[in-house]
Symmetry: C2
Subunit: 285 residues, 2 copies
């Protein structure tokens, strides 16, 4: 099984996403603003993971693309809400104006709401048992994501004074949850419990590592590379408040290695190769 390069996958996925959007019968006002944020430059890392792991399990490609689409929509929705003035107050996202800057705040709020619901409409198109499995795991995932975002803001506003393990818990919820879903949704569909648990763990480790690489980028990057206001994260509680950049990087690399071990035990060799390229890409950028 040849794992698709992420750049090739992005072309395929974005093309497919346009046709998914067409089939959704959305009102124009929200469709425009959701599509704006959706197509504004994401790497499609989560859908790429879903698609390529799912192919090892021989799951229908159309289904994998649909699950990836649902995941990317909710990721988009949560970023739209995170950027709002009352939360992160970000004017830019991936080098473009954030949704509320472009379309005004009321539309950004309602566009996010729409994005939180759409995946469930998409999952209702699956078979009965697949649909229930997806809904159960996905709703659990998104509740974690929202809780992680809540902790993040609560740390920043000094409502909670976090320990290292609180920060790790926040990362796990805010960033890892959706990666856990992306790594593990294929064995879930086939009710392969052991592989589900292994891949969930791979997703968790990958997510935390990914978040740390992202934090490091915010320190060393420049606007062109990062595409958002830098040092906005000054008041954010990241590992970098507790560990030196060097130690944080070692910590992240260890977590990444654990992900690789799990993938190796499943013999996802081709996938590992591409994932390692993506890791270098994330670190460099």
């Amino acid at each position: 099984m040849k794992t698709m390069k992420i750049s090739d996958f992005k072309n395929l996925f974005d093309k497919k996403s346009h046709s998914f959007f067409e089939s959704l019968d959305l009102s124009n006002l929200l469709k425009t603003s959701l599509e704006y944020s959706f197509f504004s430059g994401g790497k499609r890392l989560r859908p790429w993971i879903i698609y390529n792991i799912g192919r090892y399990y021989d799951i229908d490609e159309e289904k994998l693309l649909k699950i990836g689409f649902a995941t990317e929509i909710i990721h988009t929705a949560s970023l739209i809400h995170d950027d709002l003035p009352a939360i992160d107050n970000s004017n830019y996202r991936r080098g473009n104006m954030s949704n509320h800057k472009k379309f005004s705040e009321w539309r950004a709020i309602l566009t996010g709401d729409l994005g939180f619901i759409l995946p469930f409409k998409i999952f209702a198109e699956f078979d009965d048992n697949e649909s229930r499995y997806l809904n159960a795991f996905f709703s659990e995932t998104i509740l974690n994501l929202i809780e992680g975002e809540t902790l993040d803001v609560a740390f920043e506003k000094n409502i909670i004074k976090p320990t290292k393990s609180d920060i790790e818990n926040m990362y796990r919820k805010k960033t890892s949850a959706l990666f856990e879903f992306s790594f593990a949704c294929s064995p879930l569909l086939l009710n392969k419990k052991e592989e589900f648990n292994s891949l969930k763990k791979a997703g968790k480790n990958f997510g935390i590592a990914f978040q740390i690489y992202d934090d490091l980028k915010d320190i060393y990057g420049n606007f062109e590379d990062v595409g958002k206001d830098l040092n906005r994260d000054e008041n954010k509680f990241t590992f970098l408040k507790i560990l030196s950049p060097e130690k944080a990087k070692i910590y992240a690399n260890n977590l990444f290695s654990e992900t690789i071990s799990i993938l190796l035990s499943l013999k996802f060799i081709d996938f590992i190769e591409e994932l390692q390229k993506i890791k270098s890409l994330i670190e460099r950028k």
Copy 2:
């Protein structure tokens, strides 16, 4: 089958809702604010409809209460977002401080997000086919609700200049959608298509009538009765911008009568009696 009075039902439902909340394993920060809005004085009209119509179909009461709970949660979530400064900017709701006034804006946004997801976690506890039916109908319902809210704000901000039929379309989406779901979810679970369609229509008519009664109350009520800032709706596009209060009331009464006819054809006699009492209550208050 004896239809439960709405006041008795509210006691039962609120008690049950506390135990549902306990079982949901939510983070404290969002749980507190969601419960604040959830238990801040709703009539429980939608869960009452679900419960009492569902009993005609012999659906398990625990299931009906769960569906009612899910519906009331999303209703609460949508009101929390509607009240935000960027949308309706309401300081009060049902005589209490609105969520963002009490807990700050960032928590209100994330609490609403949580409320948009929770119902799907609840529906994942149903049987495979029930779960998929509920998810499909419910996600469609909430997409309509969000679109209705979008139209409402777009009219108010003069982005769209609405005709009477645009306003009716907005009412149908913003208010009727959840009533359609409440009236029709029981035959949906049993896959009784004809009764599903009839009850959906009953819910649609009831919802529009209900919204008009509510508009009339905003004109004639006082703060104690209505529990929110009056005349906030000045810039809102309601039927009262197009019809005199007398004509609007006749229009609403006709829609209500159509609802009754449908219920009569299904021989829901006892339910009709209680619904008529509720109608008088809504009009008086």
